[in-house]
């Protein structure tokens, strides 16, 4: 499992560490906001991620980046198809457990990409 020190991009790592600190202090909302920025940064730096698809069930394809958790900070499908990724906030507050979910996903994605 990925750890922040495996992220080579110093700006991205700083964002992930900032999100972690927010989580530790119980501020899930702040952490989700920072992680959303971090994920968009990752997608903009590696735009080929927007073309990758997976097949979660036989015969059903989806954009791999849409596995980003949809817990209220939602990556919009239109923005992915238009290659201008955007995250829409449909809620104002986030719990720590939700922030953890976003954190794990962002960190795993960054390390898997070699960022």
């Amino acid at each position: 499992m990925a750890k922040p020190d495996q992220v080579k991009d110093t700006d991205l790592r700083a964002q992930i560490e900032k999100a972690y600190a927010a989580m530790r202090s119980g501020n899930g909302t702040e952490a989700v906001k920072v992680l959303s920025d971090a994920y968009l940064y990752l997608l903009n730096k590696y735009p080929e991620m927007l073309d990758e698809t997976i097949e979660p069930r036989p015969g059903r394809k989806m954009f791999a980046v849409m596995r980003w958790p949809m817990l209220g900070a939602n990556l919009t499908l239109d923005s992915v198809t238009q290659k201008r990724p955007q995250i829409e906030f449909v809620r104002e507050r986030f719990a720590v457990s939700e922030a953890i979910t976003y954190y794990e996903y962002t960190l795993e994605s960054a390390v898997a990409r070699g960022a």
Partner: protein
């Protein structure tokens, strides 16, 4: 490795009838009492029971606190696990959860395991008007406050996003201090890691392979050591996973007794948790069991079961769905890890033990398996296998676990 039993209280309708018989629910409830009483006498460590609502045939266990109360008076040692209580406030007000957990802990003389979760089926979320996108936040807020209610005298009150209440002394307080061990339902890897970070046991529905489990156990315990931010006042480090269970004098006979348990379990779970089917469930009018048999084809199902019961792990994995929950369903229907003879189970369960699993929880009551077969399986396992696993748990696993938890700075309340 410790062992438990897991109950959904499944009740498939008869294939050729639209409703159950009058005594069917009475029968499965009392069968469960008998099964758990036997398991307790033989030294099983845990029973976990779900809370589900409106999931006809899949689960008739909507008031587990009552079953647990009954079991508290019919058993002596087995731990009574909520696997899990739905804690979003629309299902159960947090103060009522705290009161019921504490009362059960007193009745059972400190044997409660407090698992919590959110559910994900449209039947339940819609039935209680719980917004899907908010359920995780609701779960966390409510579960955190339940632990505060169980420990604070008085509880200072709370103004939250999903519930509020004034200062009150929530009584009784639980027998276990500061509160019973905390678990959370975890169907995905990421939920297991959330559990670790929040200091909760992970009650896994993923039907993991031993190799996956080994990786997960190492990472889980690392997170508990290094990155834990407890949701409660004591942490409960522990990994539990489900496995389908049935024994027999021969592997073939065990498979026959296993009947359609794993298949129906997987099918009905998928049916209710897939919005395309569960969201359109014709309440009171469907026969899910008939659908299962018609869609799978009785003859094909039997044949597939015969073929797949003892497939090697790599054979089971061929054709697995990529998506994690779908994969768990696929495995639930096909894995024969805890189905077979004493020798087979000794060998396969040892693989999980070697990967440092804390608790293996058996799904015995499923589909239209027979009570007599379940009782015999519990008896066989309890007499012929449980003692050796218990001995190794005390001699080996406890030591490994203590090493994993060295340096943990939080109080621990765990029965593992």
């Amino acid at each position: 490795m410790k062992f438990g039993l897991f109950y959904e209280l499944q009740l498939p309708k008869p294939y050729d009838q639209d409703q159950w018989s009058e005594d069917d629910e009475l029968r499965i409830y009392h069968n469960m009492l008998d099964q758990v009483e036997l398991a307790d006498q033989l030294g099983f460590d845990y029973v976990f029971e779900v809370e589900h609502h409106f999931l006809e045939e899949y689960s008739h266990s909507s008031a587990p606190e009552l079953m647990m109360a009954a079991l508290s008076q019919r058993t002596k040692n087995i731990r009574l696990g909520h696997g899990i209580v739905l804690t979003p406030p629309a299902y159960n007000h947090p103060a009522r959860v705290a009161e019921r957990i504490a009362a059960l802990d007193i009745l059972s003389n400190g044997r409660v395991e407090f698992g919590s979760g959110e559910s994900a089926s449209d039947m339940e979320l819609g039935g209680f008007e719980v917004e899907r996108g908010l359920k995780k936040a609701m779960w966390e807020e409510a579960t955190r406050e339940v632990t505060n209610m169980m420990t604070a005298t008085p509880y200072a009150g709370f103004e939250g996003e999903f519930f509020s209440m004034p200062a009150r002394n929530v009584v009784p307080k639980p027998r276990q201090k500061p509160h019973p061990p905390l678990w959370v339902a975890a169907s995905r890897r990421e939920t297991t890691m959330v559990a670790a970070r929040l200091g909760m046991g992970s009650l896994g529905f993923g039907f993991e392979t031993p190799e996956e489990l080994g990786e997960r156990a190492n990472e889980y315990y690392r997170l508990v050591r290094e990155e834990c931010m407890p949701i409660g006042h004591a942490i409960n480090p522990g990994l539990a996973v489900l496995n389908t269970f049935m024994m027999g004098p021969t592997d073939e006979e065990a498979l026959r007794r296993s009947a359609n348990g794993p298949g129906f379990f997987s099918y009905s779970l998928g049916y209710y948790y897939n919005p395309a089917t569960g969201g359109k469930h014709p309440v009171g009018a469907a026969n899910v069991y008939r659908k299962y048999r018609d869609e799978s084809g009785e003859a094909q199902a039997q044949e597939r079961q015969q073929r797949s019961g003892f497939l090697a792990e790599d054979e089971i994995r061929q054709g697995e769905p990529e998506e994690e929950v779908q994969r768990a369903l696929y495995r639930a229907a096909r894995s024969g890890n805890a189905i077979g003879t004493v020798d087979r189970l000794r060998k396969t369960l040892k693989m999980y033990e070697d990967q440092h699993l804390d608790v293996m929880v058996f799904v015995a009551q499923a589909g239209d398996r027979k009570h007599e077969d379940i009782m015999e399986s519990i008896d066989t396992f309890g007499r012929q296998l449980l003692p050796e696993f218990k001995e190794r748990h005390e001699k080996t696993h406890r030591k490994w676990r203590q090493e994993q938890l060295q340096g943990v700075e939080f109080p621990i309340n765990s029965s593992i």
